[in-house]
Amino acid sequence: MEDILEMAVQRARSLGASYAEARYQSDIKESILLKNGTPEATSVETMRGIAIRAIMNGGLGFGSTNVLGRRSVNALVDRVVKGAGAAGSVRKSPIVMSPAQTTKADHIIRPRIPAENVPLESRLEMLKEADSYALEAAERSDIKLAGRYLSTDALSTERTVINSDGSMVHSIVPRVSVHIFLTATLPGKGAMQRSISHGEVAGWEGAERWDLPASLAKETRTLSRALHTAKTFKGGKMDVVLGPEVVGLIAHESSGHPAEGDRILGREAAQAGETYLGKDSIGLRVGSDLVNVVDDPTLTRTFGHYLYDEEGVKARRRYLIKGGIINEFLHNRETAAEFGAVSNGSSRSVEFDREPIVRMGNTFVEPGDRSFEEMFEGVRSGVYIKNFMEWNIDDRRYNQKYVGLEAYLIESGKISSMVRNPVLEITTPGLWKAVDAIGDEMEFTSAYCGKGDPMQGIPVGTGGPHIRLKGIRMEGAP
């Protein structure tokens, strides 16, 4: 395959492209879905093809094909260069790539238990066992699980990227994930729903680590307790402790997305939106001194792990917020050039037929020094939101809402009764500036982040410790 990629890059250059990049990518995804205890269709999806990106006359072209013969790839190169030329002919300012070190690297992850060695029926058995544990827990705790939706994916991604600057990176990365959606009901108390995701860059050993049967039984018991005991939340001004699952999402939505270089430049303005930050926001205080938000793709096993991006740039840890101050943006080579910077390895593409754009890897709040108990000490009246269902954020990443699912009142420094649907609706600086304590234990979760046009749902990690917000006006929901 490398010779075809090399040929494509050479052809683009010979047609006049100032930069060219060719990528082969293969994604094989095996999916199993268990709905209410019985399997739906099991699917195996293979996406495989070549993508070409080229700059011609200052315009950028991208194209892909899954017909891999030389003739087809040559035709693709011609189309991409022509498209780039058409784009360049109407641009006032040319697109350029920031300088980057030439990379020659292999990044092959060999899992302990390759998913392909685990029969699909064994994977289904794991889901069935977890489902039966959840059902048993529901029966014992006197609720009904009206809907149980459990799925697992095993994904293997192989990429080779070659560019006209001389870089060549080959990688093979396996991922496993599960997604669970439970609907619990209790007559007279309505329904509650819980969505749970786990994902790792790993083989099947990742799935074994999650101990799904035990965790689903626990989640079911929690839903039961909430349905039986949770009171209406009245709201008011109070301290708020947020659990790692919520904190991870906030780090991703309210720190990671605003720091994406392409958003800052308006390149996503009509789709995933813009950001409240500007090109000159480095050094801007948006949070308390305690707040450090990091994006780090290099953390092994995490769902957003990679070592080299789609432009062949080596990934590294990025401090997006340091001591409450905007510290760094996420860049690919195109946005870095606009900022007079160099890429920090943020160029990602979900499949062969998608343009690489600026993406996060694993975004999280750095841990602090408080134990779990200390997070609640001194809180006379507050609320602890452990996890959530509903959330959203505006397209400038400035106003966000999180509605608690498993949530408790805090009274005199202790966790007390459960409450239903506490609503945190707050601005981004309002949230980060209110942080007055950060826990010392980290937890990561996995997600698919949507961005781009056509849409690209890319694997990311989100995480953090518990954090505490001082003096927040909270609302209740019906």
Partner: protein
């Protein structure tokens, strides 16, 4: 191999290997997408894809697989793999044999003309749209234009066989104005006739201009005039959760509501894949059944869920020809037109908000329909029937069924909506929803 050969070879191979139901779909996609920002083209995307997929049942055991090597050897290998996967799985809860063909398909749907999908024409349209937006008052623009032709060849072991082309031109343009003001508009069409990049640019520009200097909105319960892009987002949710798959999984707010009043008597909602003017049109569903127009909601009453053969068998009804092999899905949603002009609807609002676009719709509970979504772009305060101010930073926090029941008026003008936030092509009017709950950030 030709596409019909691929279908025939795969079906006969899978049947020989022990499958009892086989669906083979071959898709050829040709697409140009021009993305632009700050009035400049940021990238021209060019896609050329040929793919095939196999869905089959061995008894009641199901498997789905896509095929990347479309030669005889590759197909044979894929068929063996699909049969092996299905054979090793337990029986599915939902099963019905495939519909028995052959079927006749509507030629208006099988013989549609393709659209020009080259980059030069697409760049020209983008420039036309940007120029119209700027002329209307925009300070800058961003968006995308996609020109696409997808040829689908479907054949089933039930004797269904058909070919169709899905042509589409889709432009999405967002225009920006003074002080965080913005406006968004679309043009969606199956051909050059009806595709109007200038009109979309002009509308986005005019909205951005009218929305200049937005002030923070006050939360509260008010009437909401929902423009087509917002109403299409909500109607898309009604369509999505009409799928019997979600109903069966306990994930739909429409569960158990057939025959019930789920919306205002003013609302008629159809799924219609037979309308050749829709980019969602298709002569057949994924099981090869000829599609048909059907009312999901008539005068506010829920008439049917969306079914494939398997869900229909479980629910004891006939398929609505909305397969999705796993999950039934809407093809193309259409809301009946109302009787008023948009201006008349605004004039009947004493205090309310006119929302022209939204995004990020999320549920607290799918089974109750409690949700929130965020208005974006031009957002206006209405007082005593007049637009009096431009607003920002409000959120709709409500219940979808409650909102549907509080539809007070629909406009006679309707618009096709399909864009980043709304993936099912939807034809909708502007809607007046009374008593809508708006919330805002506390600090």
């Amino acid at each position: 191999m030709k596409t019909d050969e691929i279908c025939d070879t795969a079906i006969s191979s899978c049947l020989k290997l022990g499958a009892n139901d086989v669906v083979v779909t071959v898709m050829k996609k040709e697409e140009s997408m021009v993305r632009f920002a700050n009035d400049q083209v940021t990238v021209v995307n060019s896609l050329d894809e040929l793919s095939a997929s196999i869905f089959l049942c061995v008894g009641r055991r199901k498997a789905a697989l896509n095929v990347v090597d479309l030669d005889k050897k590759g197909l044979e290998k894929a068929c063996q793999q699909a049969v092996r996967i299905a054979s090793n799985m337990p029986e599915a809860s939902l099963y019905a044999p495939l519909p028995k063909g052959p079927f006749n398909y509507d030629r208006k749907l099988t013989e549609r003309e393709t659209v020009p999908a080259g980059p030069d024409q697409a760049v020209h349209w983008v420039q036309e749209s940007i120029s119209a937006a700027k002329k209307a008052g925009a300070s800058r623009t961003a968006g995308s234009l996609t020109a696409r032709n997808v040829t689908v060849h479907l054949a089933t072991s039930g004797g269904a066989a058909g070919v169709t082309v899905h042509p589409s031109l889709e432009l999405s343009i967002r225009a920006f104005g003074e002080g965080l003001a913005s406006g968004h508009s679309l043009s969606v069409s199956v051909g050059e006739k009806g595709f109007d990049p200038s009109a979309a640019g002009r509308e986005a520009g005019e909205l951005a201009k009218a929305a200049k200097g937005p002030k923070k909105g006050e939360p509260g319960t008010m009437d909401a005039v929902l423009g087509p892009m917002v109403f299409a987002d909500l109607i898309g949710e009604m369509g999505r959760f009409s799928s019997a798959f979600y109903v069966d999984a306990g994930m739909s707010f429409l569960t158990g509501k057939i025959g019930e009043q789920v919306a205002s008597p003013k609302l008629d909602l159809y799924d219609d894949a037979t309308d050749p003017t829709s980019v969602g049109a298709s002569p057949f569903d994924s099981e090869g059944l000829p599609t048909r127009r059907k009312a999901l909601i008539e005068k506010g009453v829920l008439r049917t869920h969306l079914h494939n053969s398997a869900t229909a068998a479980k629910f004891g009804v006939n398929s609505t020809a909305n397969a999705g092999l796993i999950a039934p899905r809407p093809f193309c949603l259409q809301v009946g037109a109302g009787e008023k002009d948009v201006e008349d609807i605004i004039s009947q609002v004493d205090k309310g908000v006119y929302v022209t676009n939204d995004w990020y719709l999320r549920y607290q509970n799918y089974s109750t329909g409690d949700l929130s979504t965020i208005p974006r772009d031009a957002l206006f305060l209405i007082e005593k029937g007049e637009i009096t101010a431009s607003l920002k930073e409000l959120r709709i926090s409500d219940n979808i069924l409650g909102m549907m029941k509080r539809i007070e008026a629909l406009s006679r003008q309707r618009k096709w909506v399909k864009w980043w936030e709304v993936d099912v092509p939807t034809l909708v009017p502007t809607a007046l929803v009374t008593g809508t709950r708006f919330t805002a950030s506390s600090q």
